[in-house]
Assembly symmetry: C2
Homo-oligomer: 205 residues x 2
């Protein structure tokens, strides 16, 4: 890692921690550079403006989260050949993982951007959209596999069900933060798992 990319990385790490803790706007460039121990000019050498920092954080986050999901559902697939079981195991693992990193979930970054539309430029919003569509595609593929074997017990749009994974996480984060109770987020993921289970489980005879 070169000197430049090291500094850039450190700016992003410090910024991400602060932004997740208190929001994008409440995190000043001046406080970031103080923490990284560079000057303000040093910051603007790496990022043309604060927006570019947000963009870099979102794009890095998508990569990290994709890798995490790959790992998680990869392990789940090793544990079962059945696509429904794989999904249920994966969601359980996700709930456990999330429970262990209470305030660190990066979905926040997407939501922050969603809620401060005019604060961010088109690039940031496009990247945000890309992230959500990526998750939809991932989970839609898994749901298709499941639905091919287990006909859903209710008439649903599988894209919407796929979106529900992201939605449940984002909504869970908001509730967790609003109530200052970190157990809510994993609990909401568990409920999503319960829905998937009920939706695709063959009727008991």
């Amino acid at each position: 890692m070169s000197r430049a990319s090291g500094t850039r990385q450190r700016i992003m790490d410090v910024a991400q921690e602060a932004i997740l803790r208190k929001g994008f706007d409440a995190t000043s460039i001046e406080e970031i550079v103080a923490s990284v121990e560079i000057t303000k000019s040093g910051f603007f050498y790496h990022f043309p403006d604060k927006n570019a920092l947000a963009l870099a954080l979102i794009e890095r986050h998508i990569e990290v989260e994709d890798a995490l999901f790959d790992d998680l559902f990869g392990r789940a697939r090793e544990l079962s050949d059945d696509p429904l079981q794989t999904m249920l195991i994966g969601l359980k693992l996700l709930a456990e993982l999330i429970a262990d990193m209470p305030n660190q979930h990066p979905g926040c970054i997407v939501a922050t951007a969603a809620y401060q539309d005019r604060l961010f430029n088109r690039d940031v919003r496009a990247s945000n959209r890309k992230a959500v569509l990526g998750w939809r595609k991932r989970f839609r593929a898994m749901l298709d596999e499941i639905a091919a074997i287990y006909p859903p017990r209710d008439e649903v749009d599988l894209d919407a069900v796929a979106d529900m994974v992201s939605g449940q996480v984002e909504g869970g984060i908001i509730l967790s933060r609003a109530l200052e109770d970190s157990s809510i987020l994993p609990q909401q993921v568990v409920l999503l798992r319960s829905y998937i289970k009920l939706l695709f489980s063959p009727p008991v005879q």
Copy 2:
């Protein structure tokens, strides 16, 4: 309505519209007062600071939303004596209502506060918490009625299921905004309805 409360109301109306459109931070006091046609000092006569405006908006929002839910589930109750059917009808009405007011859903205010913690003071966060707990209590009562008749088909925490209503709405808003597709939010509410239906429906024989 006195002159003062009229002006206060107008400040809040203008502010709410702007905040929902572009976020709390991106909405300046100067632009609010320009739109209301008062001076900056006039604003600070009514609100000690911007935080107090946020607090007033959240508290007004809770009242409006409570009244809306009262009306909605009241109508649903008129349409069926069965608590499960009442819940399902109410969620359907909610989905329709939300579909008709694409970007206007005020849940945004709660989320905005949740995502900009340090930007708001303790009062705002307390009010926020109160709102979410109020929704939990409302839906928990309905779920208790349902569960007394229809035993749930999966082991779930009913408080968590109650929270899921708020969570699904908040998450749906984020997805709708991120994808700029207003149909996602009502769709997510429909999925919640599907879950409640599957969770409490007696098994088909």
